[in-house]
Symmetry: C2
Subunit: 299 residues, 2 copies
């Protein structure tokens, strides 16, 4: 007997699709409904076998869900979560998969709609202030790919991966426990931390690598690509990801990303001075320290 | 019938070992002799099946070679090539696999021994000035791994990869043609360019990625590693390579590496300004340009 009756996935791209596929392969849900804006994307997701049925009507799609996963781009998450909370059954677990968490989680727990430039109280934005947000907690699966779309979905994408769950002070512990259980049934390992701590760390462990990979790719003259070996290919790989998604991620974590970037520039300036001074012991020290940290991660 | 009678490989690590293995698997040489400084490393290389026999006596190891591959760290290449040229048969093809080329190739064609800080005419360094360097041309296979040692050798390491051959103005075209034929029998595609042009391009396509990967790894607090996803892992992968080898590479291409590093820092400063100004169109443009270049490489 499946663990869940009905799971709705709002946004059936690579991550949403991989969650659907994992649920189907493990027979964890009796019904898996995809919700999207374009029928054509939903048709592709059904054809890929990552969801069972689909609708462009969000309210209808989540009406009988016991779990709703919002897997839309970070700039859309808050709005989508509010629409889900207004339409889903009382007691449904609602979570997202966004790469930033502070702005999303605080907007939701404080019932602030997000416009591009400023937060607006939800009642002014036209939604009810009675909205019960206690069923929501933010999540961030540390899994993905520079490719997008349900065609690249993999049922094992989350297996053995970390999912960070980010309760705020107002999140009921029961909601956190249910989110944890959900991710664990998909084979993930769950870490809990406050949204701000998540954003601070991820600025260095995810957003900065993306920025650096893009800078390296952007400054390389295309005519030198035949001279690019494995090092360039690895170091720039994530620069192939969707520019619009990443511009949104940077916009939601700007101060922390700038802080991480400043530490990197400082590190590079120090290395530059050592190179210029031909200070071999210092360069070796720097490379050794880097190797120690990289080796600690494994492959 | 094998293409070559006797091939000597000086330095049987990952690259030297992979060349040996490729030659053996393709039955291209009747004899493959490994030359190294430590008997223990040579024993491991024989045990791995990457060479047929081995010696710590360089002169004896290359005495009957028709081809000698010097696959030692870049700081040792010039000295090793001179020792090979003094001991190998007249007419032997000698090449190296170093990641930098200008310093190596010009020292050899001008018969300058290299000490750490300055070039010394070879006759002062104790070797003969009559040394015939016409059998030597520099090579750089764009293939490798952040791991080292003959245990990680792969017979297909060079298949489909680019090998850059870097003649100077004094390199006989026959020597270039023989080096090209050698690499092509191992399945590689050969590009020819002057050593300076190689070093200029590789500063951006190889040395800079290494420096950046190391900076990113070095500034990441180890306690955040559980929060590192695929992007961090890819972007820092080459930081696991041997610090001593890479300190030598940087030392042999310092001005070009600093030039490339300055362009990167400028690129990062520009991105920082766009982030700070919340200039979304500019950030999207930057990420799109990066993606275009990265996509042009393929996977």
């Amino acid at each position: 007997m499946p663990n869940y009756k009905n799971i709705a996935i709002v946004g059936v791209g690579l991550i949403g699709g991989s969650i659907g596929l994992a649920l189907r392969q493990r027979r964890l849900a009796a019904e898996i409904v995809g919700v999207g804006r374009r029928q054509e994307s939903l048709d592709r997701a059904i054809a890929c076998g990552v969801i069972g049925s689909a609708t462009t009507d969000l309210a209808a799609g989540v009406a009988t869900a016991d779990v709703v996963i919002v897997a839309t781009p970070v700039a859309s998450v808050v709005d989508d979560v509010f629409r889900v909370l207004a339409a889903a059954p009382v007691g449904a677990l609602v979570t997202d998969v966004g790469s930033t968490k502070a702005s999303i989680c605080h907007s939701i727990s404080e019932k602030q709609a997000i416009s591009e430039k400023q937060a607006v109280p939800l009642q002014q934005a036209g939604s009810g202030q009675q909205l019960d947000t206690s069923g929501f907690v933010g999540s961030h699966p540390l899994a993905g790919d520079h490719r997008s779309g349900p065609e690249h979905a993999r049922g094992d994408l989350l297996e053995g991966k970390v999912v960070i769950v980010t309760p705020t002070s107002s999140t009921p512990s029961q909601t956190v426990a249910r989110a944890q259980a959900f991710w664990e049934t998909l084979g993930a390992q769950v870490l809990q931390m406050p949204p701000e701590k998540h954003d601070q760390a991820l600025a260095t462990t995810s957003h900065l690598p993306h920025l650096v990979a893009s800078a390296l790719a952007a400054l390389t003259p295309p005519e030198w690509l035949p001279l690019a070996a494995g090092g360039w290919a690895d170091t720039t790989r994530v620069a192939a990801a969707d520019p619009l998604l990443w511009a949104q991620i940077f916009a939601q974590n700007t101060p922390a990303v700038i802080g991480a970037l400043d530490r990197l520039i400082e590190q590079l300036q120090t290395a530059r001075s050592s190179l210029l001074a031909e200070d071999r012991p210092e360069i070796e020290n720097f490379l050794r320290q880097a190797k120690r940290t990289r080796d600690a991660l494994g492959n």
